[in-house]
C-alpha cells in the first residue's frame, strides 16, 4: 500500500512538472518545462542553470519589464522633465518626455526606459534604485548618472554617430556660449511629427516565379485600420533617424506580412506585375454598396487573424429585419400599399435575398424586374 502511495505521489509530481505548475503565475515570460533551455532573458534574473520553484536562485533583479495598464498612453506622462539632480559640469537637461514617449511607441513603448514597476503597478522614480552615489557593493547596477547616459546614448549614438554632450546639456560657465541644438521653447507639447508614407511600395523580391510585391501602405492604414505599431514594432530610432543612412526605411522581412497573411498563399502578395489596390467587389465577389463600404471590416469579419467569409444573406447579420422593421425604400424600391404589409417570403423565396425576387407565388402574368411591387426611385 505504501508503495502505491509513493507511486501516486511521484506521478502527481511529474504531471505538475510537465504542466509547468512550478512556475509562478506572474512569471515574466512563458516558460515551458518541456524546453528548459536557459536563454539570456532567463539569465537576467536566475543565476543558476536549472532554476526551480523551490530553488529559483534569483538575484536582485529589476529587469522584469514594467507593467503599464493597457489604457496608458504617452500623453498621460509629463510633457517635459527637467533632469537637474546631477548637474555639476553641465546644466540641467530639459528632456522632452512627450516627444520621446511618442517616439518610443514604435520601439518598445514606455518600458524601453521605464523597465521596472512595483507590484502595485506604480513606476518608481529612477533615483529610487539608481542612486546618485555609485553603489560600491552592487557594481553591476549603474548609478543615476550611468543609467541616464546609457539610456539616452543607447539611441542617440546610434543615429547621430557622435557623442556631442551639448546635444542634451550645455556646459556650466562655458565661455564659448554653447547653445543646445534645439530650442527648448519649441519642444513643449510637441509629439513626434506624423510620419508620411507613400501610398504604395513596389518591391522586387528574390522569389523568382513572381518577384513583384505591391504593398498598398495607405490601404493597410486607412482601409484595414492597422496602427503604425502593428508593423513597426521593433523599430529603433536609427532606422529613420540614422544620419549616415540616406535610403528610405523599409520593412525587409516577410514575417511582418505573414503575421496576418497566410504565408503559403504566395500569389496573394507576389505577382509578375504591379497589383491594383484592394477592391472588395473584385477580390471577393461581394461589391460593397454605399452602406457597407463605411463599415469597419471587423463588423462583418469577426476575427482579423482568420478572415472568415461571412454569410452574404442580409438577414444573417440583420436578424431583426422583418415586415414593419425594415424600410424597403433603402434598397431603392418603395413598396406600394398592396405589398408593404406582405411577408418577405412572398417575393424572396426562402428569405434568400441574394437571388432575384419572384412574382410567381401570387401573379401568373407578372415577373420581376418588368413589373414592380412599388416605385423605383
Amino acid at each position: 500500500m505504501k508503495k502505491l502511495y509513493l507511486l501516486l505521489a511521484a506521478f502527481l509530481f511529474s504531471t505538475t512538472l510537465i504542466n509547468g505548475q512550478l512556475v509562478e503565475p506572474n512569471h515574466p515570460k512563458d516558460y515551458t518545462m518541456g524546453n528548459p533551455q536557459m536563454n539570456d532573458y532567463c539569465r537576467t534574473c536566475h543565476i543558476c542553470e536549472n532554476p526551480t520553484k523551490f530553488n529559483p536562485c534569483l538575484e536582485q533583479c529589476a529587469r522584469h519589464g514594467a507593467q503599464f495598464s493597457s489604457t496608458h498612453s504617452f500623453e498621460a506622462g509629463p510633457d517635459i522633465v527637467i533632469i537637474d539632480k546631477l548637474s555639476k559640469l553641465y546644466k540641467p537637461v530639459i528632456f522632452s518626455h512627450e516627444l520621446h514617449a511618442s517616439m518610443s511607441e514604435m520601439s518598445g513603448g514606455c518600458t524601453l526606459c521605464h523597465h521596472y514597476s512595483e507590484d502595485s503597478g506604480e513606476i518608481p522614480a529612477c533615483d529610487k534604485c539608481h542612486k546618485i552615489k555609485p553603489d560600491l557593493v552592487d557594481l553591476n547596477k549603474p548609478s543615476l548618472k550611468g543609467s541616464y547616459h546609457r539610456q539616452c546614448l543607447g539611441c542617440h549614438r546610434e543615429w547621430s554617430h557622435e557623442n556631442a554632450c551639448q546635444f542634451c546639456h550645455e556646459e556650466i560657465g562655458s565661455s564659448d556660449e554653447v547653445v543646445s541644438t534645439y530650442d527648448k521653447t519649441d519642444i513643449v507639447g510637441v509629439p513626434h511629427p506624423l510620419i508620411s508614407a507613400e501610398e504604395k511600395y513596389i518591391y522586387q523580391t528574390t522569389y523568382q516565379k513572381a518577384p513583384v510585391v505591391t504593398f498598398h501602405h495607405t490601404d493597410h492604414v486607412d482601409l484595414f485600420g492597422l496602427k503604425c505599431t502593428d508593423c513597426h514594432k521593433g523599430d529603433n530610432c536609427a532606422r529613420c533617424h540614422d544620419t549616415a543612412k540616406q535610403e528610405e526605411p523599409k520593412i525587409e522581412s516577410m514575417t511582418t506580412c505573414c503575421s496576418c497573411h497566410n504565408e503559403n498563399n504566395c500569389d496573394f502578395c507576389h505577382s509578375n506585375q504591379e497589383k491594383p489596390s484592394f477592391n472588395h467587389g473584385v477580390s471577393t465577389g461581394f461589391t460593397l454598396g454605399h452602406y457597407h463600404e463605411d463599415v469597419d471590416c471587423n463588423n462583418c469579419h469577426r476575427s482579423v487573424s482568420n478572415f472568415v467569409t461571412p454569410s452574404t444573406n442580409c438577414t444573417d447579420c440583420h436578424i431583426h429585419w422583418d415586415v414593419g422593421t425594415f424600410d424597403h425604400s433603402i434598397v431603392g424600391l418603395t413598396l406600394n400599399e398592396y405589398h408593404e404589409e406582405e411577408d418577405c417570403e412572398w417575393c424572396h423565396i426562402d428569405r434568400d435575398f441574394r437571388v432575384e425576387p419572384t412574382c410567381d407565388e401570387c401573379h401568373d402574368d407578372m415577373s420581376y424586374p418588368e413589373d414592380l411591387p412599388g416605385i423605383r426611385e
Binding site: 557594481l139 550611468g146 546614448l153
Partner: protein, 295 residues
C-alpha cells in the same frame, strides 16, 4: 684521461645541487597583496569615446589641460595614441568594431600589474606595488635609469625628457590619493558618463565581468583581459572584439618578472652564487693539481 671517476661525481653533485637551488627559489621581495585590493573594470562596449576621462585625469593630476568642451574633438582618433608624460591616459578608437557597427573605444593607461615587471626592473625601488593595487612611484628615489620603461609589457611609463634637471617617470597612479587615502573614486571613473569603467575590489570586478559574459554570451567575447595576462592586472577589460585586434598585446599568463627574478634572486639566495663559483674554482684547481702530479 684527466678526470677520475670520483672527481667527476663530486663535480656533478656540486653543480646539480646549485642548479636545484636556483630553480626551487622563488622571488622573495614580492609585495604581499591585500585580498581586498582594488582594480578597475573597463567594459569597452559601454565606452562612447567622449574622452572626459582624459580631462578629469589631467585635472586630478595637475597635468596641462584644455577646456572640457575641447575634448569632444574626435580628430585625435585618427592616430593611435599612447600615454605621454603630460597625459596619463588616452582613448583610442577603432572604427566599425563596436556593437552596432560603430566605433569601439579603448582607454589606455597603466594596468597596475599584480606582479609588475617595472617594479622588478627598478633597481632602487622607486616603483613599488602597493598592497591595495596601485603601482606607485617615488620620484625622490628614482635615479632615471628608465629600466621600467623598457620592462613594461604595455609600454606605459614615460619620461620627462624635456626637463633637464628634474625629470621624472610618469604614469597613471590609480588616483592613490583619492581612492585609498580619501575613499573617492579615481577621477576618470568618477566622470565617466556611461560608467563604462567601474572601480571596486578586484575579485568583485572579476565576478562582475564573468557574470556579464555569462548573461550576454552573444555580446562579449569570453575573455577578461587582465585576469591572467602577465600574472594579472588591476585594470581589466571586457570587449566584443578579440583583444589582439584592438591594440592589446598578446601576453603570457606569467609575469616576465617571474623568470628574471627566480634566476637573479635564486643565484644569490643563501650565498649560493659565490659558493658555487668558488666550489667550481676549487674543483678545477684540484683537477689541475692532480694532473700536474700525474705528469
Amino acid at each position: 684521461m684527466g678526470i677520475e671517476r670520483r672527481e667527476f661525481l663530486k663535480t656533478l653533485a656540486v653543480a646539480s645541487g646549485s642548479l636545484a637551488g636556483v630553480s626551487s627559489l622563488k622571488a622573495s621581495n614580492k609585495t604581499e597583496l591585500n585580498p581586498d585590493r582594488f582594480g578597475v573594470l573597463s567594459d569597452l562596449t559601454y565606452c562612447i569615446g567622449c574622452r572626459k576621462c582624459e580631462w578629469a585625469c589631467n585635472e586630478a593630476n595637475e597635468l596641462p589641460n584644455q577646456s572640457l568642451d575641447s575634448f569632444s574633438d574626435t580628430s585625435v582618433f585618427e592616430n593611435m595614441r599612447r600615454p605621454t608624460s603630460e597625459k596619463y591616459t588616452v582613448v583610442n578608437s577603432f572604427a566599425n568594431k563596436g556593437l552596432d557597427g560603430g566605433a569601439l573605444n579603448v582607454k589606455v593607461q597603466c594596468m597596475h600589474c599584480e606582479h609588475p615587471p617595472c617594479v622588478s626592473a627598478c633597481i632602487v625601488s622607486a616603483l613599488r606595488k602597493h598592497p591595495d593595487g596601485p603601482v606607485t612611484y617615488n620620484a625622490s628615489a628614482c635615479i632615471g635609469c628608465r629600466y621600467c620603461i623598457i620592462a613594461c609589457p604595455f609600454q606605459i611609463p614615460t619620461y620627462e625628457y624635456e626637463k633637464a634637471l628634474t625629470p621624472q617617470v610618469r604614469k597613471c597612479t590609480l588616483c592613490l590619493e583619492r581612492t585609498i587615502e580619501n575613499g573617492q573614486l579615481p577621477a576618470c571613473v568618477e566622470i565617466c558618463p556611461t560608467e563604462a569603467i567601474v572601480f571596486g575590489r578586484r575579485k568583485d570586478l572579476l565576478e562582475l565581468a564573468h557574470e556579464r559574459i555569462r548573461k550576454h554570451p552573444d555580446k562579449y567575447i569570453d575573455h577578461v583581459y587582465g585576469e591572467y595576462e602577465v600574472g594579472g592586472t588591476s585594470w581589466m577589460y571586457l570587449s566584443n572584439q578579440p583583444f589582439n585586434e584592438i591594440g592589446f598585446p598578446e601576453l603570457d599568463d606569467k609575469s616576465p618578472a617571474e623568470l628574471t627574478e627566480s634566476i637573479q634572486h635564486g643565484i644569490f639566495k643563501g650565498f649560493s652564487g659565490p659558493i658555487m663559483l668558488f666550489g667550481l674554482l676549487g674543483i678545477i684547481m684540484k683537477v689541475m693539481k692532480k694532473e700536474e702530479e700525474n705528469e
